[in-house]
Subunit: 192 residues, 2 copies
């Protein structure tokens, strides 16, 4: 059965420099169907990268990752596992920080996020943690070695989700409703 | 764990008249990142309809349904439930007919379909059966009443999936590989 969860948007962030994935806090994001105008991941399409090993690098493909969304709870758990006081969402390029959704990074593909200020986002799956984000965390803790290597292990299924805009509008701190589609496990014949 | 299934594309179909959803067999489809050029559902975006009751009808939204894909096995099961000799994929506007995938219409969101001839499609979920498709089936069996009403009940989770093109290329009869992502049931705290 589909169900709806009431949660919160804590903070929104955008890329001051599209040449780098770092993001900084903004009062609100105005998104259209291609994402955040002027942002690093704006567009219906993008170039294939290392995550899409089955494509030639640089090939034009469907985007599926216009926005990066992380949760306060999951970032705190990554920090705990890495023995760090905190991980700021901007260090790893997040556009939206949410709270109040248990196991946020495990939300099912296709879950819809209805932002109180109007935009609607579709979950396109968990965001695989990489060394580049880990290295950026490491820049904030110069006394700690190898955080770039540690992050991909510590952050698996905790690094949030990627999402696409389904309906244009505003994303701002405040109310968030998450609609979870009916879930089944496909087992190729018998259903759980 | 992710897994890969080997299956087959039986037939491909396109809309001879974009004013109607019926499709007819074609030797191959050349798709770009917006779908089938000239087809009824071509585009990164589309207008909201009755399925998206939470939006104003006609609002421009993310498409998510560039192609309709059905399976031989699921169509046969719908026909059996409706006591019909067959249901042709073109009657209900399908673009691709596949076989060899158990519970095809239940494939998880995000499953990737690698067509042997090059295109790659992403599953955006099961296609909700509607009365319009049912009425089109009914036109082929004038002796049978109320097939438009029967179809939405008989075809639930059997009417195939909607998909978006991830990588442009050709879709033609022949080999198909389906990559199933890791699946979990999100329960808001505890995982099955």
């Amino acid at each position: 059965m589909a169900r709806v969860i009431a949660a919160e948007i804590v903070k929104v962030l955008t890329t001051p420099d599209p040449g780098h994935f770092r993001t900084t806090e903004a009062p609100a994001l105005q998104v259209d169907l291609q994402g955040i105008p002027g942002g690093r991941h704006y567009g219906f399409t993008r170039k294939a990268g290392a995550r899409e090993a089955w494509y030639q690098r640089g090939m034009e493909m469907r985007s599926g990752r216009q926005l990066s969304i992380v949760s306060l709870e999951d970032l705190a758990e990554i920090a705990r596992r890495m023995d760090l006081p905190c991980i700021e969402p901007g260090w790893i390029g997040a556009n939206v920080l949410v709270c109040g959704i248990p196991e946020f990074s495990r939300l099912p593909w296709g879950a819809r996020l209805f932002c109180g200020d109007g935009a609607v986002l579709v979950n396109e799956g968990d965001n695989a943690p990489c060394r580049f984000a880990g290295a950026e965390i490491g820049r904030n803790f110069p006394e700690r070695a190898r955080l770039d290597i540690l992050f991909p292990k510590a952050a698996i299924f905790l690094r949030g989700i990627v999402a696409t805009v389904e309906s244009a509008g505003t994303i701002a701190p405040g109310a968030l409703k998450v609609k979870i589609p009916e879930q089944i496990i496909w087992t190729g014949g018998s259903l759980l």
